[in-house]
């Protein structure tokens, strides 16, 4: 299975995402922001970082990158897409996911090991987890506060589209403690915490994050 990982200028966690795909026995394919081509991949990861410096608004420029036009089209046809941190911000800016990410409520960048509760294990990226499982993965962001209007929140909650929720103290002021969400179809998932930094207990707090990449590999094997 071929999994593409996009690099924009200013992307930082692309090496980590590529490594995570390899850990899950997938074929990791680097994609470049200026390309109009997904190189025949079966899924795409939009990794973390500060695309184009994120000076205007996180993800606001990246959504216009040529490669993102291809990603939007493929996602709408059902291709599994995962946005991590800046990737989540980009997917929100690209309207693949609802809502927006704003400055943390305490205004500081926060890097910490964060417990998350898996609320939805039916998406393309979460089938390996038991429902209600708690996982420990790094969170590291300055603009990770999830915001959406009441109607959207009701829709997300009502349709079970909240995928991950923060456990314990809310680290960034996210509405309803939301850490990650999915689209109606369940193929596009975005989250602020970093599962790709938790694939090996040597370099991460746990290997709890690996389940997301294994889930993806499973989904294609089944299909």
């Amino acid at each position: 299975m071929r999994v593409g990982v996009i690099t924009f200028p200013g992307t930082l966690d692309d090496v980590d995402a590529l490594r995570a795909v390899k850990y899950a026995d997938g074929e990791a394919v680097p994609l470049w922001h200026g390309d109009h081509d997904l190189k025949g991949v079966d899924a795409v990861i939009v990794p973390g970082g500060f695309s184009y410096g994120d000076y205007l608004r996180c993800g606001a420029i990246a959504r216009f990158a040529p490669v993102m036009q291809e990603v939007v089209e493929a996602a709408n046809k059902g291709m599994p897409v995962l946005g991590i941190c800046n990737g989540f911000q980009i997917l929100a800016e690209a309207h693949l996911l609802p809502g927006a990410l704003v400055r943390n409520h305490k205004l500081h960048f926060v890097c910490r090991d964060q417990w998350l509760k898996v609320e939805n294990n039916t998406t393309a990226w979460t089938t390996r987890y038991d429902p209600g499982a708690e996982i420990l993965v790094p969170l590291k962001s300055g603009e990770g506060g999830y915001q959406a209007n009441e109607e959207t929140l009701r829709e997300l909650e009502g349709e079970g589209r909240v995928v991950f929720r923060y456990v314990g103290e809310n680290p960034n002021g996210s509405r309803n403690n939301i850490a990650g969400i999915t689209n109606a179809r369940g193929n596009v998932v975005g989250l602020m915490p970093h599962p790709e930094h938790a694939i090996d207990a040597l370099t991460g707090p746990t290997d709890d994050g690996l389940g997301m990449f294994l889930s993806l590999l499973d989904s294609v094997v089944k299909a």
Binding site: P9, G10, D13, G53, H108, F109, C111, K140, L202
Partner: protein, 752 residues
Amino acid sequence: MIDTVKNAESTPDQEQPYKELGLKDDEYARIKEILGRRPTDAELAMYSVMWSEHCSYKSSKVHLKYFGETTTDEMRSKMLAGIGENAGVVDIGDGWAVTFKVESHNHPSYVEPYQGAATGVGGIVRDILAMGARPLAVMDPLRFGKPDAADTKRVLPGIVAGVGGYGNCLGLPNIGGEVVFDESYQGNPLVNALCVGAMKVEDLHLAHASGAGNKVILYGARTGLDGIGGVSVLASETFDDTAGKRKKLPSVQVGDPFTEKVLIECSLELFEKGIVVGIQDLGGAGLSCATSELASAGDGGMHVWLERVPLRATGMTPAEILSSESQERMCAVVEPANVEAFMEVCRKWDVIATEIGEVTDGDRLVITYHDEVVVDVPPRTVAHEGPVYHRPIERPADQDELQANTPDSLPRPAGDELLELVKTQAASPNLASKRWVTQQYDRYVRGNTVLAQPSDGGMIQIDEETHRGVALSTDCNGRYTKLDPYEGAKLALAEAYRNVAATGATPVAVTNCLNFGSPEDPGVMWQFEQAVKGLADGCAELGIPVTGGNVSFYNQTGSTAILPTPVVGVLGVIDDVRRRIPTGIGAEAGETLLLLGETKDEFGGSEWAHVVHGHLGGLPPKADLKREKLLGEVLVAGSRDGMVSAAHDLAEGGLAQALVETCLIGETGARVFLDGDLFTELFSESAGRVLVAVPRTEEQRFTDMCTARALPWRKVGVVDPESNALEIQNLGQLPLDELREAWEGTLPALFD
């Protein structure tokens, strides 16, 4: 009108503002002698900035020679590049070379905390990049004034946000550092930045411009009016704006980490393609420094067409273009046949690249501006043949009095007060958890961080196949150095060495950042001379070389100097990072706690004397580097054979603080039993000690090894996962929740 060489020749008596630019009469006279005429404005700008204390090391040079004199061939055997290069380089095995260096950005960070700290990170990262290495991690030793002072509340949050804002956006994990508070840093915080990088041995790039006809390419950000005169004004005298009549932007440069990230990736791709002959970063003194250093390190001269430099401001003079310290710029020397390939890579990364010059036959650096010659100098006279001062040295008159004022007569706690002191000391700003600071730094990016704060040392994996890695620690206790600069520098080295060894790595090389007061004060020069000697002698005893360093003078408020602060960084190698030793206990139930080393009644400069009595006097603990070396060997052997499950070095706050930290970091309780005077046992700061946890099954084997190697050891307790408390026999219990609140509550209460 542009001041050209022709003009300078025809107006030999024209007055020049050399004093305002920081040059002394005799220095100006020497420039005239070198050139055989008066310098042009552009030449004067170049010489003044390159001959400043910051760039020329004119006050420290004669002392720094001692590092070279005390380094033996054996110590040098693993060193691929040393003092004088952008950064030292060490062969760590498996074909890997590692480069690391610390630099100061103290003065800019006081003026503008966020940008000062941010560009400090940016500068040191480019130094590492200029060696041909991929920058892998950063660390930031920081020092501030009193924690509750109003100015600390201005400076600290800005500096921390700047380090994080730049480093996080650059994508480099921050794996350690220091946060220290002392009144002496009140008007002069210390912001030191360390970067470590790695490359394959054959990819080492040194800064030189060889081969006539080769092209000089400036790439990265445009050149603007920021930071003009920053180096000479900020780093060589005081903050008075003596150059107020010149148009300029704020003296502190403004950083753009996104541009730097792209510059790194672009440079690494250029290195990989093998199309770079020589490379130099643009830092302090900008193009003046880059062109003169590249030219003087090569085998020919250089011609630079200054009007080709891409600018971000209009109307800049040649002198301004040469002195600008705009960030995120690099200068490369490229063979003509490879220029197009070079440009192609830069276009891919949207990096502006401009051919601004050419390597020439001959030995002059000639800079023209629209066909008029504005600089014509022998480059070595600018870059390397600056003035050398033999500053007066005198042991301060009050040094004897300071040392005679020992802590021996201070009232010591007993009974219940001891338990209370464990907690109050853990909550004191210097010993309290630095989580408030470090959680603003990304420690995970790039996925190779094995250990990071609050571990004794930071550790990164260099090779994902073989698991080879390096560990790093920086340390310095300025109070020790104040009491005895020679011994204090050795103690800083000993602690950094011990911290690295406590992770399971073998220490191999040393870097430093020597932060001192004014070199014009003979007492400060004495401290400096003593500290250099102590550090160099200590390195010789340990058998590891100093591979590079940085000197920062004029760290003072009015005439009061900071505590002498020679920050020492030690690099260690570990052949398999999976063997790293963590700091926290509790990996296995029933581990035994052993104290390695000897505890003596040593309280001079201690945290107890400082926190409880506000006292500084006497002599610091004795450094015994042979013992440190033995301790290191035992720890590495223990890690290699899987005999040690946790290790934590004893430093400020003694055994009490080490126990608190190892319990809290490991989220596990312990029962401790001590003999002798409990106050000394718990709070003495004797060097050469490490607390280790060993699995019960390994206890015999490990202690036998210690005994065989004549390393003193004592069983001081057991790990107790059930208790959730630190229990000290005959004193009582401290619940971990209570300790955590004390340890972690201090900084948020001060700065949130």
